[in-house]
């Protein structure tokens, strides 16, 4: 692959780093690592794309658009429930099914993400897409942990060996239902990212968690969650469970 072809392919590479594990970009990214001229172009190109995203997302939306959509949608919905008997019969059937479904679900439910974890992924996505900024930035995760502790935010007691070796990008604090949560983002050697989320409280949905990590796959994310005392941890990356396991060691 020459530089011209690499540029052609890399023009489809998203600036947030979401494509770092996509094999279609592997050869072009390898070429970037080998050729300093191409590397310079790639960095400039990512900066250009990031600026374009910011500019387009700053376009103002008409103030009455939302209300017009909500008002118009009411009259666009198909008319239903016209006969009271049909309405009550369907409602009764739905309630029965819900009770049965709830019984089955409680006995066979798969691993799932709790609300605070969904919000953590949302925060991480906004960081990756440059929609929000870090509270503090450093390539040294130890400095970020110290910053979080100094600001009374949840911070991991210690990092796993493999995670501790990675350069960090930054950290951010947020809250879920009043519970303080923090996230630290790290750069993996393959160009992708990995995120450690920490909360010192135990969200009600996570009280059954154990010290051994529980794994969940959702929308391309591999997520591990575990507890150590009153601290709950979540480690997440866009990739496979095996990739994630490496950073738990």
């Amino acid at each position: 692959m020459d530089n011209r072809e690499a540029k052609f392919v890399l023009n489809a590479y998203r600036p947030g780093g979401q494509d770092a594990n996509d094999p279609r970009f592997a050869e072009a990214l390898e070429q970037v690592r080998r050729d300093p001229v191409l590397e310079r172009w790639f960095v400039d190109s990512i900066t250009f794309d990031t600026a374009m995203t910011e500019k387009l997302r700053a376009i103002e939306v008409p103030p009455d658009l939302r209300e017009n959509i909500l008002a118009g949608a009411k009259v666009s919905r198909p008319l239903r429930w016209s006969k009271p008997f049909v309405k009550w019969a369907i409602a009764a059937a739905l309630i029965s099914m819900a009770i049965l479904g709830s019984f089955i679900w409680h006995n066979t439910r798969p691993a799932y993400l709790a609300g605070w974890q969904d919000q953590a992924l949302e925060v991480i996505s906004t960081l990756v897409r440059n929609e929000t900024s870090f509270d503090a930035q450093s390539r040294n995760a130890g400095e970020l942990l110290a910053w979080l502790r100094a600001n009374h935010a949840p911070a991991a007691q210690e990092l796993s060996d493999n995670l501790g070796k990675l350069p960090s990008l930054g950290c951010k604090r947020f809250s879920w239902n009043g519970i303080p949560v923090s996230v630290i983002c790290f750069m993996r050697p393959d160009g992708g990212l990995i995120h450690l989320v920490t909360t010192n409280a135990v969200p009600p949905s996570s009280r059954s968690l154990k010290t051994a990590p529980e794994f969940v796959r959702q929308d391309g994310w591999a997520i591990a969650t575990w507890r150590e005392g009153d601290t709950t941890y979540m480690l997440a990356l866009e990739g496979s469970r095996d990739q994630l396991r490496t950073y738990l060691l």
């Binding site: 400039d44 376009i59 658009l65 017009n68 118009g72």
Partner: protein
């Protein structure tokens, strides 16, 4: 879908959908109308979508189809090959931060439509090339080609606007551009 869920969906998606529509339609009124029409279609047909996690893709795809359906004349999409993209067009980058959003949008609107839609989806929502291919119903290679050519065309339009601004704009990390502006 309950009224509350619908309202949540509107709150999350109406602004990016409007911006996508605005890049396609060239008029704020048309863009607002396209956005509203897309949600009205969701209100009447959205129940048919079993996988609710695909609601966002459904909305963008439907808006694009609505846009295509409204065009009176048929546009033949030019076939763009890799050879058509000149090296120099891919090498020099204008300073986007020197422009306001309205100027950037104007430059984007000046890019021919077949390139504009994938470009806007790429920038606005950072959709992957795979997702853009699914939405626009074109092969992955075509998406990559249109992104590459579209970016080159966009840079040309921005360079034209740089010239209009004259010395107010400093070229973006390119010694060659600094000299030519100086």
């Amino acid at each position: 879908m309950s009224a509350t869920d619908f309202q949540r969906l509107v709150d999350r998606q109406y602004a990016p959908l409007y911006r996508f529509a605005l890049s396609l339609s060239k008029s704020e009124a048309d863009a607002a109308d396209l956005t509203q029409q897309t949600f009205f279609l969701w209100a009447s047909k959205g129940d048919q979508l079993r996988d609710r996690s695909k609601a966002k893709s459904w909305l963008f795809t439907t808006l694009y189809r609505e846009f295509l359906g409204r065009r009176r004349h048929e546009v033949r999409f030019p076939k763009i090959e890799l050879d058509d993209v000149r090296e120099e067009e891919m090498s020099i980058l204008p300073n986007v931060n020197a422009f306001d959003s309205a100027t950037v949008l104007q430059a984007l609107r000046e890019v021919e439509e077949p390139f504009r839609a994938p470009l806007t989806l790429f920038y606005l929502e950072q959709f992957s090339y795979q997702k853009i291919a699914d939405m626009l119903e074109v092969p992955i290679g075509t998406v990559m080609s249109r992104l590459s050519r579209g970016k080159a065309l966009l840079r040309q339009r921005l360079f034209s606007k740089e010239k209009l601004l004259g010395n107010k704009v400093v070229a973006f990390q390119s010694d060659k551009r600094v000299e030519s502006n100086g």
